[in-house]
């Protein structure tokens, strides 16, 4: 919040090749001791607010899909360059990050697979166009047909198959790039649900 006076200067300890700087804790005024079992639970309140917002998630997810499709259409028209690749990557990357929150986890898995192709394929122009197209189509189908295919487990199966095909491709084209191979095979830090 607005500071009425300048904070105290940081405490500096100098050593041979580094300094340890301890800035004044300007945030400690926001810490408050409370009695145990205080009724107010900010996390529960925020979860409820998120639940109240969830009615909009399907619309949001559709607009994310539209953005993905537009980015892909630009690539089909202009080819890969820094801008078009960046737009497609960010669109897929946002779906990867948001899809679980919005209730479409399988779309997130397919989007992550697409991100990995865009990040680790040594030559994007050499990537089979169908491989990218199938990812785009799958994400759109998972969102569009959410109520039917999610229930039947088709969405998860579709995403898993796409990921397997993409991983096989990336392993093949990166066989002489050990750094990329290591990144491709590294486990995700995000825990499985």
């Amino acid at each position: 919040m607005a500071k009425n006076k300048a904070p105290a200067p940081p405490k500096v300890q100098a050593f041979a090749d580094h300094q340890v700087i301890t800035p004044p804790n300007t945030l400690k005024h926001a810490i408050r001791r409370v009695i145990d079992r205080e009724l107010d639970d900010p996390v529960a309140r925020a979860e409820q607010a998120l639940a109240n917002l969830s009615g909009e998630f399907k619309t949001w997810m559709r607009s994310e899909c539209d953005r993905l499709a537009a980015a892909h259409a630009a690539i089909l028209k202009k080819g890969f360059d820094t801008h078009t690749r960046g737009e497609l990557f960010r669109a897929a990357h946002d779906i990867k990050g948001d899809a679980s929150t919005f209730g479409f986890p399988a779309a997130g898995v397919a989007a992550e697979s697409l991100c990995r192709i865009l990040e680790h394929a040594p030559d994007l122009d050499a990537v089979p166009p169908d491989l990218i197209q199938h990812h785009i189509d799958a994400i759109q189908a998972i969102v569009r047909e959410h109520n039917t295919i999610e229930k039947a487990g088709v969405a998860n199966e579709l995403s898993a198959r796409l990921r397997a095909v993409a991983d096989d491709y990336l392993t093949l084209v990166n066989r002489d790039r050990p750094d990329h191979l290591e990144m491709i095979s590294a486990p995700s830090i995000v825990p499985k649900e």
Binding site: I21, T26, I35, E38, A46
Partner: protein, 181 residues
């Protein structure tokens, strides 16, 4: 037991995705925050950082113009006129270990992998408010102390000389990222 008075904190949220900004705003307001400023790219965020002097920055990684990593590097300029010490929470869809290392080396304070949860965000904010870390300035690094624990088994080169390490014991960023919530 401690709680945070969020209404005493000023936040800057930087994410190019309007839906994620809406979610972050909703969560922060639900926690009790009143002052939440939003930027949709790194350049705007840097300008707002100077103007509004936020207490805490929450930044996405992948953004146009310049990304969250570059934003962190620009904020962490030890000789800048602005505040180079504000906690930066990196919120990202990236889920690889090397990304955490990159974020840490850019001066990021906490790392929160998507999908976002209310509990995960709350715990990161609690961590930066209640347990601020000292800053380290070396020839090629300026940011929060990257040492979060000590081990007698360490056999690599020491990157710092001339003083005993005082370490605030905390889980590593990687361990924190692996915990759900």
């Amino acid at each position: 037991m401690f709680r945070i008075d969020f209404n005493k904190l000023r936040f800057l949220v930087c994410d190019d995705n309007p839906h994620m900004r809406r979610i972050l705003r909703t969560l922060l307001h639900s926690f009790g925050a009143r002052e939440v400023y939003e930027a949709e790219d790194g350049a705007t965020a840097l300008e707002m950082y100077s103007h509004y002097v936020p207490d805490i920055v929450i930044a996405d990684w992948a953004m146009p113009i310049f990304d969250g990593l570059e934003l962190a590097q620009m904020i962490r300029q030890p000789d800048s006129k602005g505040n180079p010490y504000a906690p930066i929470i990196m919120l990202t869809g990236h889920s690889e270990k090397r990304r955490i290392t990159m974020a840490r080396d850019a001066g990021v304070t906490e790392f929160l992998a998507k999908p976002i949860s209310a509990k995960g965000l709350y715990l990161r904010i609690m961590s930066v408010v209640a347990h601020p870390r000292p800053f380290i300035k070396t020839k090629n690094y300026f940011g929060p102390d990257r040492r979060r624990n000590t081990t007698v088994a360490y056999i690599g080169p020491e990157r710092r000389n001339g003083g005993e390490a005082e370490v605030l014991q905390q889980p590593s960023l990687l361990d924190k990222a692996r915990v759900t919530g």
